[in-house]
Symmetry: C2
């Protein structure tokens, strides 16, 4: 009884996590019930006979969660069946010419050679990635046709029936998956990257404050809570295989919504890789939040402002990139945030240069400077991610963000001033900070911490 | 023509990478040719008829590369076929009681409910990991049996034939995969972890030298070569999904070689995770080999000895662990290496405490101390990996290493001296170093660099 209740709970959780799963289950049930009507209705049964079961089988095997996966599998299956059917007929014809004793031997050899060769080709990485299923069906159909052909005289008839039932089964899957509540792998990949960016931005937006204020607070509950809040980014670390399979499926999908047929899915993988690289750094940085080597509050206080700005600004840049990806608009003010982060870096370097580190213990110094170095790394990666996003934006023809027209020329000029390395432009810091705080409050709802930051920024100015 | 040559080249590469792939292809061809003999021989054909094709299908679909995957799929398929067959007969019986008009409607409802429910259950993470294929076959068989039953009167006969052909097909796959050149997923997982450890050790063994000597050498060819040599560890970063699927397959495998049936495969995943964590750190460390911020040769020279020892000793520990995992012996002298690395840490800290950093530029300092911090992290992780390996060794009952009996008591006592944290035992450093150099030369062949190190160690003493 307890077991049953647990299963129901798990079911609810699975459904809540992605309600499209429930819809998908209904779709599969529907198509299967439809296709099995082949057996019920005499006219249909008369034309296909037991071969109708191939339609049922095709539906069960081909109907996948996303349109891309279904389309890919369906096309693979139909193409492989056609090709193997043709080859099977050829093999049958060839074998039948060699007499009654020769035929089974020749057929066995054909099946052996074809199966061994195709199985080997499945190990090719490029084949495995896209045509693995094709080859499986190829082996299957060839074996079935060439071998069944030995018995049934109407091998052509059999092949024809098998191919048409497979096409009918595949087509119903594809049509239902496209026209009834479609789940697009491309859309999923797109959202996955945007949400990954957001997860990283969440960490970075909070890191500065947490890092500088964490010392001396030994409340374990508090520490645990902080850990949980920040652990969201961890799912990014292992997102590679998921991204790759989604991109593979997306390639099969026709244009949908804002995505054209040849949307640059490959560029998504490049962007995803950079995001993951950044997540690795964040993972390392996270360990310094609860480090054993306590860096003294004193030195942290001195470095607090630039440290907070570095993480806050890169976090803002990530947040903006996530928004721009989500809305498919060109990233506009991200450069400013990156610039601000760089200028904060510069202030930090100046501060470090001023001899502030002279009294710090080596062990503290290691912990502190590693955190700083990781932050710098993260800022570098943020810049690379931005570049990659720009490439994606131009390849996928993202729209320009709608802005008040009178603001545009100012912004462009501001950008052109700061588009060089930050080392050269630290005089512009305050100007940039003001522009950025102005332009950013529009598209965020959780701006509690930002407001706070704004206040302290104004204090600084 | 060029295309064909390229394919042949690719084929050779694939075969060379893992020659078992060729063997596997032959095995698949063999089983398929065998099973299709059902069609050729009149006695066999008489008893199974067209249902013989289920055997062919089972072989094509079930025969996987490793024994575990084949066994898992085969058992899944047979169990699901049995269960769904029973349920299908029940559904057919129930439907046939409701009259000629009610029957197809009731059957369609059954198929719909069963397909929708099973499809939904496939989304449960735990089910997806192990029983995904079961459910697929469950849906398929239920639909085929309950629906075909509507036509054919002998539904029991049909079910019986389907089940026995599936069992025959599955059994031949399983038998051939176990008894003809078996590929054990468990063995593969075991070797994968050992080789991952070795890759990390390769990096660490070389890192110290490369890091301290790299400055000022701007020969790009040299830099490129170094990069390539060290990039081996990168495959470890994304090994998670591979390890997980191998562990999943391994659970299905019977005892083989040194592995019992309930070998602690779960512990391998824990160990693999730690190794991957270490690889992340190494990935970060690698970026400091070719860093833009050049740390001056001066300071590197001063820190060279402890830095080199830290990376060398952790590398040696990794190497030993890799060997011990490979040979399934308990790790013996790893503790000493970890200990040595820790004592090198201690010397480094002393050196840093001596005010050596006073004149270093902040940017250099960041680069230098981050590298140091990462190395310390790596040493900590090495210790954790060792712990995890010890757990694995006791859970999997690894043998003790065969040693000269008269050396054993000495070693034990030496170990007991140094088994506490290094901070407390820095007086023993030299003793430990000597023991370790002594005990280690046995099981390594590439000891050029080690010899060098030994010399410099003695110089130090």
């Amino acid at each position: 009884m307890e077991k049953v209740r647990e299963i129901v709970r798990e079911g609810r959780r699975v459904a809540k996590e992605d309600p499209r799963r429930v819809v998908h289950s209904f779709k599969v049930g529907l198509v299967l019930a439809l296709v099995s009507s082949f057996y019920y209705y005499q006219p249909l049964y008369d034309s296909f006979g037991v071969n109708a079961m191939w339609a049922v089988m095709t539906v069960v095997v081909v109907f996948e969660f996303s349109v891309g996966a279904t389309l890919g599998k369906g096309l693979n299956r139909v193409a492989a069946t056609l090709f193997a059917g043709g080859l099977g007929i050829g093999a049958h014809h060839l074998a039948s010419m060699s007499g009654a004793t020769g035929e089974p031997i020749l057929l066995a050899i054909f099946v052996f050679v074809q199966a061994a060769l195709s199985t080997f080709v499945r190990f090719f990485p490029r084949v495995k990635a896209r045509y693995d299923y094709s080859l499986l069906i190829f082996i299957l159909t060839f074996a079935l046709i060439s071998v069944s052909g030995f018995r049934e005289e109407q091998v052509l008839m059999l092949t024809h029936k098998r191919i048409s039932t497979v096409i009918i089964g595949g087509l119903s899957c594809v049509l239902i998956s496209i026209f009834v509540c479609p789940v697009w792998a491309g859309q999923d990949l797109h959202s996955l990257l945007a949400s990954n960016l957001e997860k990283l931005s969440f960490f970075l937006l909070g890191f500065g404050d947490k890092y500088c204020e964490a010392v001396g607070n030994d409340d374990t509950k508090e520490v645990d809570k902080r850990k949980n809040d920040f652990d969201n980014y961890k799912s990014v670390l292992n997102s590679k295989s998921n991204e790759e399979s989604l991109a593979n499926f997306a390639k099969w999908e026709p244009g949908h919504g804002q995505f054209r047929f040849r949307h640059p899915w490959k560029q998504y993988l490049a962007l995803g890789e950079l995001i993951r690289q950044c997540a690795y750094r964040i993972h390392a940085l996270n360990s310094y939040l609860n480090d054993d080597t306590k860096v003294s509050i004193d030195i942290k206080k001195k470095l607090r402002e630039p440290l907070r700005r570095m993480s806050l600004e890169s976090g803002k840049a990530m947040k903006e990139m996530s928004m721009s990806l989500k809305n498919m608009t060109k990233p506009s003010s991200c450069e400013l945030h990156v610039q601000n982060a760089r200028s904060a870096c510069k202030s930090l370097t100046n501060l470090l240069n001023s001899g502030i580190l002279k009294e710090v213990e080596p062990l503290e110094l290691i912990s502190l400077l590693t955190a700083i170095s990781l932050l710098i790394d993260i800022i570098n990666l943020t810049e690379k991610i931005l570049e990659s996003l720009h490439e994606l934006a131009s390849a996928a023809k993202f729209k320009n963000k709608i802005e008040r027209p009178n603001l545009l020329p100012e912004k462009t000029s501001a950008k052109s001033i700061v588009s060089v390395r930050p080392i050269k432009c630290h005089d512009d810091d305050h100007v940039i900070t003001i522009i950025e705080d102005d332009g950013n409050d529009d598209d965020t709802s959780k701006n509690d911490s930002r407001k706070m930051k704004e206040v302290s920024n104004h204090g600084e100015t």
